[in-house]
């Protein structure tokens, strides 16, 4: 694919790139028409918007516009993938730095109430060039290890900027500064909910999936029930769980002592666990069903016991499909765990719902941004793992 693109470039040096046209249009709108930052006198009043040249000192502002223009032209024309990637990355890094610079520039000295946050123009530019990076990455088609390194580099860069205080002037970090302790406690609870329910779903779902694979009659009923659970809205499921868990807390000795009650972490955990079961069980069944018949027949004919066949033939061959389920569940749980805050389960949702309650969007972002980053990073890591698991267990033509 890449070779074809280079060939095209040589033939028609001024050909346009379709995605590049969209990126360039978004960039023009984001840089020139949409506001770059929002300034608020305090955290809950309506803000006033500022364009790039108003939000930043002149040198930085016009510098950013020039950089965006160059990168948009590179995106628009059919240029080598590495050039596109480098220019888009340069814009993204500049955006990140300048968001912090805008905050420092706009905040009056010694004013602890003023809030500066990135506005639509910033987000549009960020989205446009992230799209370009994603497109270039897809077309370069790097191996799983390279993708993991890329993710690590991006996270390290973001972490470095946070640590260096580049964004300290931004409203989201001001919200963080006043809640640093609870933030990490809720982050821990969020991860415990998402990963713990995944672990529980894997421990229960794998054997259940294997059982469903072996026993035809069980398969339809189990998958039917799990499907039905999946259709219950999460808030309704929390509600449904309050009564039985409350009963257990009241009447089963020791249950309350280990934290089981009608509201709080227990129903959130149980709900996430129930939602996770369907993907794990269904993919285990699909993965096992995808094992070539001949390989299974040969395994029996060569004298493997049922356990040996499961452990050394069926499971390894189904593993990439099961890993896909775990990826789905992990990303889904990281998002869903946000809802747990509604019933006192904690997690990043606490900030989201507090922020909604106080109409403080910055506080909402403090809950939402880490959730998105976590989910995104989890997806990339597991995709890479799936690819590594599948590459040396390449699906043979056995039938």
């Amino acid at each position: 694919m890449a070779i074809g693109i280079i060939g095209d470039t040589e033939r028609k040096p001024l050909a346009f790139d379709k995605l590049g046209a969209i990126v360039a249009a978004l960039a023009a709108y984001g840089a020139l028409l949409a506001p770059f930052a929002t300034f608020k006198a305090n955290r809950i009043v309506q803000g006033e918007t500022r364009a790039i040249w108003e939000a930043l000192p002149p040198l930085l502002g016009y510098g950013l516009i020039a950089l965006v223009t160059v990168a948009a032209v590179i995106a628009l024309l059919r240029t080598p993938l590495t050039v596109r990637m480098a220019s888009a990355l340069a814009v993204l890094v500049a955006l990140c730095f300048l968001a912090g610079a805008a905050a420092d520039n706009l905040t009056p000295p010694d004013n602890a109430y003023a809030r500066v946050s990135p506005a639509s123009g910033f987000w549009i530019l960020l989205f446009a060039f992230a799209l370009l990076v994603a497109d270039a990455l897809t077309r370069l088609n790097p191996g799983p290890v390279v993708r993991l390194l890329f993710l690590a580099a991006v996270l390290a860069l973001v972490g470095g900027m946070l640590f260096a205080g580049v964004w300290d002037g931004l409203s989201i970090l001001k919200e963080y500064a006043s809640r640093a302790d609870t933030f990490w406690a809720e982050a821990g609870r969020h991860l415990t909910l998402a990963l713990g329910s995944l672990a529980a779903a894997t421990v229960v779902g794998l054997p259940l999936g294997i059982l469903c694979h072996r026993v035809d009659r069980l398969r339809n009923s189990v998958l039917g029930v799990l499907n039905a659970i999946q259709t219950i809205p999460s808030i309704a499921l929390f509600g449904i769980l309050i009564a039985p868990l409350g009963w257990i807390a009241a009447y089963v000795p020791g249950a309350a002592a280990i934290g089981i009650r009608g509201i709080g972490v227990a129903p959130a955990f149980v709900a996430l666990f129930l939602y996770s079961l369907l993907p794990v069980v269904a993919n285990t069944v699909v993965g096992l069903a995808g094992v070539p018949r001949a390989a299974n027949d040969a395994a029996r004919g060569l004298g493997m016991t049922d356990w040996q066949r499961l452990a050394t033939v069926e499971f390894p061959l189904a593993f990439p499909v099961i890993l896909t389920a775990i990826r789905i569940v992990l990303v889904q749980n990281i998002g869903l765990a946000t809802i747990a805050a509604l019933i006192g389960g904690g997690g990043f949702g606490v900030f989201v719902f507090q922020g909604i309650g106080q109409t403080a969007m910055d506080l909402v972002l403090l809950g939402a941004v880490p959730t998105v980053v976590l989910a995104f990073a989890a997806a990339i890591v597991l995709d890479a793992l799936i690819e590594m698991a599948a590459s040396d267990r390449s699906q043979g033509r056995a039938a």
Partner: protein
Amino acid sequence: MIEFDHITKRYDDTEVVSDVSLTVEPHTVTVVVGTSGSGKTTLLRMVNRLVEPTSGMIRIDGEDNRSVPEFELRRRIGYAIQGHGLFPHRTVAENIATVPTLLGWENARIKAKVEQLLTLFQLDPDFFGARYPHELSGGQQQRVGVARALAAEPNLLLMDEPFGALDPIIRAKAQDDLLAIQKHFGTTIILVTHDMEEAFRLADKIAVMDKGEVLQYATPAEMLVRPATPFVEALIGSSERPFRLLAIETAGDAVEPGGAEGEPIPATLSQRDALSELLWSGRAALPVAAADGAVIGKVSLAGLVKRAARPE
């Protein structure tokens, strides 16, 4: 020796194998031929108990095959199937090592065995050992499948349409290799196929099955000369009969005294191929050479034509 003793297999109301009794002599190749649905595969799978008979008994060297646990029985019996059934996530060497590993052989012994078998099947162990099955051609996969079946040196090898997925040229080569291997190890082979050509090529004895019954169990020559039923006759193919008859014996068996003009043909060539040489070269006779190259006589068109005629 494998004895099928009044074997019947019923699924619900359908009888797929009906009261089959036959005895397979040790160190021979027995081919079970039949159309699809004739019960031949079911019969084969009852030997290593992938299918349990409804009634009757199968004895291997005089011992009921139900006297040991299934998995132990199967580890003693080689098993090769159509589409090879190699494990796609394991290398060629690991695939071949399957049964020795199950039996707990020492690593050095397994490694030596894998190398010996790969060499025997004309696959370079250094090159192929570490490959995955999908990197091999169909013919190579099939050879690995048979090598895996033979890894624990079984006395008995069951093969279910092992060459069904191969193209004709590779199939002929695979059949020759199988016969060479069978001579080498002295393995008793029961092979199931729907291909009569394959049956005549490989078999010491052929069992023809239809609708769950064995219609005839005989040597190829006997089956040609005296087909038991019209079905057997149809299966053999009436236009093929003289050629099949010639294909059974070698040119050495048809040698007449005297000499002839032309390039000598080897004595191990089948009479059918000798006839084909004669017809193609346009000669009435060709000299026959022994393995050392010495001419031992001639085969003549007239002599072969007489041999191809229906014996009285």
